[in-house]
Amino acid sequence: MSTLSGPISTAKDALSQAVQSHIIPNQEYLLQGSILDSSVEHLLHRLKGLCDNVDTGPEPFHDHEVCMSLRTPNQMALQLRVRRSLDCDAPHQLRYIGQAELGDRSRPTLVRSSIDVACTSTVMDFLTELGCRVDFEYTNRGYMFRKGRMKITVSKIFKTGSNKPGEMGPEPISQSYLVELSVLAPTGQDAIGEEMRAFAEQLRPLVQLDKIDYKRLG
C-alpha cells in the first residue's frame, strides 16, 4: 500500500535537523545597563525615535518571573525561568539560560545559550513536581522596543510576595530602570554583536550598555 511506503518523519527528526542546520535561535546576545527613574523619560523618547515601532509606540509589559533550579547531586544546578504576563493573555514562557560567556574585549556583547519555550500555564506545577525549587522571583514592568532583530526592554524590577499583605505596593529593587538590549539568534551569527554595539553607542550618554560579568557581581 502506498500510504505506508514513505517514511514518516518524526518530530524528533525534524528538530535534530533544525539543530544541525543552525536555524534554532539558541544564543542570546545581551547588553545590560540601567537608567535612573528621573531620566527614564529621556530614554523612552530617544528609543521611540530610534526603534521600529514608531507608529505604535512602545509596547508596555508587566511580567512575573520565577527562577527555579533543578538540583541533582554531584552536578550543577539547572536553572530554569518561568515568565508570565500579568497584563495580557499570553502563554507562559519557560526559559533555560546557560552560563554567560564574557569573551575577550573584542567581543561586543555577552553571549549565553538560551532556550525559550512557550508553554501552558501548567508549567509551574510540572516543574515543581519534577523537583525544581523556587530560587527567587520578581515582577518587572516597563516597555519593550524593537529594532530589527534587537529587543530593547526598559523595565522596573519589583520584589514580589512581601510577607506583610497590608504593605503598600510592590517594592522596587532600586531607583533605576533596568535596560536590556538582546537578540536571540542561532549559533554562529556573531555579526549581530557589532550591530548591537552600534545601537548601544547611540544611547551612550544616557545609558551605559555593557557586558556585565555575573561572576564579579556574586
Binding site: 500510504t3 514513505g6 528538530l15 519557560l94 532556550i115 508553554c119 500555564s121 510540572f126 513536581e129
Partner: protein
C-alpha cells in the same frame, strides 16, 4: 480542533497487521473518504535515575497534527501534570538529561495514513514499540465539535459503520474522569458539579495526548504481561 476518540482495533485471527490496515483503508476509501497525507504520534518516556527516590516518569509526546508543539506528561503515581510547549522543549529535556534518562526500548509510536471524510478525520495507526508491531489504534476526530459528549454518538456511528463491529454505547472511560483542566477552570468553583467530567468540557489537544498515553500504556503492559506475543488479544480498556 475537534473531538478525538481513540479506538483500538484487534487484528483478526490469521491476519497480519498490515493486512488489516489495508483492509480498513479500502473500506474507508469505498465510503468516500480521501487520503490526506500521513500522521505520527510518538511517545518517549524518561524515568529518573534510581538514586532520586520517588518514581516520577516524564512522558514526552509529539503529534504530527500539532507540529510546533511538544506535549509532556509528568506522572507522579498519584497525579498527572500535563504540559504543552513549543517544540524546543525537547532541547530543554536534553538539558535535564542528567536527572532523567530515556528508555529507548519503551519508545512507542503510532503512525499511518490520515483520511478526510467530510468533517471527520480518520487516522489508521499501527502501533510499534522499539520497531515491533503491537497493534492497531484508530483515531477518529470530528472537527466541528468541541464537546466530547455532544458528538460521541456521531463518532460511534461512524466507527460502527466502517469497522462493522458494535461499539459500546458509553463514551470511552477516559472522558468520564474529572477533567484536569476543569479543576483549574475558573467556573469550577462557582458552579461546582461533581459530574463535570471531561466529556462535557471543551476538548483540548492535550486530551488526545492523554488518550494516546493511556493506550500506549496498555500496549506496554500487555507486552510485559504476555511477553510480547499477544498481538491478537482484544484490547478493551
Amino acid at each position: 480542533m475537534g473531538v478525538t476518540v481513540l479506538q483500538p482495533y484487534s487484528v483478526p485471527e490469521g491476519q497480519t497487521g498490515p493486512q488489516t490496515i489495508e483492509f480498513l483503508a479500502k473500506r474507508l476509501l469505498a465510503l468516500g473518504a480521501v487520503q490526506a497525507s500521513t500522521f505520527i504520534v510518538d511517545c518517549e518516556t524518561f524515568i529518573p535515575n534510581p538514586q532520586h527516590g520517588t518514581p516520577k516518569t516524564v512522558h514526552v509526546l509529539h503529534n504530527s497534527e500539532y507540529p510546533a508543539s511538544t506535549f509532556a506528561v509528568l506522572d507522579t503515581g498519584t497525579k498527572q501534570v500535563p504540559l504543552v510547549a513549543d517544540a524546543l522543549f525537547d532541547l530543554l529535556m536534553l538539558k535535564m538529561a542528567p536527572a532523567h534518562t530515556s528508555k529507548k526500548q519503551t519508545k512507542i509510536e503510532s503512525k499511518g495514513a490520515r483520511f478526510e471524510y467530510g468533517d471527520f478525520l480518520i487516522k489508521l495507526g499501527s502501533v510499534t514499540m522499539a520497531e515491533n508491531f503491537k497493534g492497531i489504534l484508530l483515531e477518529v476526530e470530528y472537527r466541528p465539535c468541541v464537546i466530547p459528549s455532544n458528538c460521541w454518538e456521531l463518532i460511534r456511528e461512524l466507527l460502527q459503520g466502517f469497522l462493522g463491529v458494535s461499539i459500546p454505547a458509553t463514551i470511552p472511560p477516559y472522558f468520564n474522569t474529572p477533567s484536569i483542566m476543569s479543576m483549574n477552570h475558573p467556573k469550577s468553583s462557582e458552579i461546582f458539579n461533581p459530574n463535570h467530567t471531561k466529556q462535557n468540557d471543551v476538548y483540548q489537544p492535550m486530551d488526545t495526548i492523554n488518550q494516546y498515553l493511556e493506550h500506549f500504556g496498555n500496549f506496554r503492559k500487555q507486552t510485559m504481561l504476555s511477553g510480547g506475543t499477544g498481538i491478537g488479544a482484544p484490547l478493551r480498556s
